[in-house]
Symmetry: C2
Subunit: 385 residues, 2 copies
Amino acid sequence: MKTPNKTNTAQPPHNSRRNFARGALAAAALTGVGMFAPRRAQAQPKGAPEVKWRMATSWPTNFPIFEHGALRFAENVAAMSGGRMQIEVDSASKHKAAFDVFDYVREGQFEMGHSCSYYWKGKDASLTTLSAMPFGMNAQEFNAWFWYDGGIELMNAAYARHGMYSYNAGNTGVQMGGWFRKEIRTLADFHGLKMRIPGLAGEVLARIGANPVVIPGGELYTSLERGVIDALEWVGPHMDISMGFQQIAKYYYTGWHEPGTELQYLINREKYDALPEDLRRILQVAMRESSFDMLCESEYRNAETWAQLHRDYPDVQIRSFPREVLDALDRETNAVLDEMVAASPDSAAIIDSQRAFLKKAAAWTAVSRGDFYRVRELTGADLMA
Amino acid sequence: MKTPNKTNTAQPPHNSRRNFARGALAAAALTGVGMFAPRRAQAQPKGAPEVKWRMATSWPTNFPIFEHGALRFAENVAAMSGGRMQIEVDSASKHKAAFDVFDYVREGQFEMGHSCSYYWKGKDASLTTLSAMPFGMNAQEFNAWFWYDGGIELMNAAYARHGMYSYNAGNTGVQMGGWFRKEIRTLADFHGLKMRIPGLAGEVLARIGANPVVIPGGELYTSLERGVIDALEWVGPHMDISMGFQQIAKYYYTGWHEPGTELQYLINREKYDALPEDLRRILQVAMRESSFDMLCESEYRNAETWAQLHRDYPDVQIRSFPREVLDALDRETNAVLDEMVAASPDSAAIIDSQRAFLKKAAAWTAVSRGDFYRVRELTGADLMA
């Protein structure tokens, strides 16, 4: 997934020559919020708000989907509280420090943050798999774990050590495995390959001989174009195509490393505990609603963009990694996770619980959605003709 | 899916000899609502509520998952409004008319309903596929269509004809294809087969020579046991096992007919329009949050129950329908849908939109989740060991 640019987030990941998703982006501000007519109306604050908060995001201004989720949440809080609570959303383009959101919220400079737990790996490695685990749970399974198998409690036990609460903020769905200038035919093709890929997945790639690097989003297109890197992964079709990678790298691989990446809200504990009970509940329900909405929006925009991709860039080749590559990635993923479990009881608490649920969830998924996809592909020509 | 018992909903679908899910059911009241401690507290009404509403559900008291969704919604509305709005939830065990929820809300006897659109097929056939379409969209795709591709607007245009608004209330995930006493090996095995299966799917089965019947939930176990029917479908593992079907029918088939059944809230239009703006928004966000929660709960309980099923009932045989059966079901599904489209512009507006999005969504699903499930099954032995 994307790593926000720490020092220069002013440049949005769109530019004029590769912005065919811009229309969709503008539409994002309008759709999904409205149902029947009265809902579209903005709530008018009844005089000055009782509570004014600020939320720092890790995304530049106009960052697709993610920014919409943050704004949608704030707008719902204002409307549900009749204007009593207002949350100002500051993008990383404004506060200039995408990776300081954790500290901002911990120290109370911002009451809330909108970010992703695996960015805090250096501060507390146990937070990493709260966002994503290679070969792990997809969005639907992850949400079942968070809300019904104790995941949210484990996440909050972890963040309590840092004076914060945390809450799910949305899911990207399955992220694609990335754009490659050359086809990957064997495990050896990864030897020495320079790939932009952050987090756990980068660690795994290093173990199979690749050279993972971290490059700010704003420099990715140029880095790939000039051969500074051979490959990169970003998010999925909607966000990737807006970056223009398809103009340089023709091989687009399916995903293994972030099967359902979950974003997180961070909330300063003291500030939250000082709120009246109705506003606390308004925050919780609005956070959860926005988390659901982000997955809906991601699925919609990826489906639309996927159809466009085939039409507008027919020479893009869709590939899955060969079996020997997948086996090696899986083996090294487990080695990394095992080391994390051995190194820290905090990591063990989270990873052990995730692995236990994954085993059950994957079995059910295979027989329900997995088999249904098979059936639909088998017979789908009629219905989808 | 289940058809609630029209005349006798007093009997919950559990009884003492087949209630191993009861513990899970009791836990449902406690989980998923609580995050960090303050959230578990009940909001105290500040004096008498300004607005008192009643919501009629189509489910008997203690009906798993669905009832929790309705209660959760009402509790969130009370808490977010600081007690200003209270919604009393009346189960079908109380109001005694599961299938009259539509009329109750239309006529204003209840301000809201919690039910499923395909129950109103006889009143307005165009509402049917707002709940489920055989071989159609699964939960994640369906939600993308509802919230970003105009589905919610189409649904409300349809319900406006009946003086109501409608809003999504939750999703069961992929429903299983049902329990069969004899294995289905060929299309001919369906000839004359008496199966309890309602709705569109029943119509499709009739066209391949089966004899679909509708039997109230409370009589299903006995009907199957006594051979009144040869097969039935209900929902999925969690709800099915609590009914005890696995004690009679050994063949449990994967799904095709309800790939992501969506429940609906019904809201009386006049009553809703009379609400102040903050309460309207509170209702909308609480409805949407409860809709998300139901899918989380369904996935969690089905995953847990699936693991139990293999342990406790090892002689249950999991099957997929043979290719010739699936092809016939798909062909007849499309024939039924084509006839609906030709018969009514109202049906056409909804079905045409659903089919158009399904085509795009299924392609993206196949390459994202579909391929990821394949990868995970291929390599999954390590991570899930």
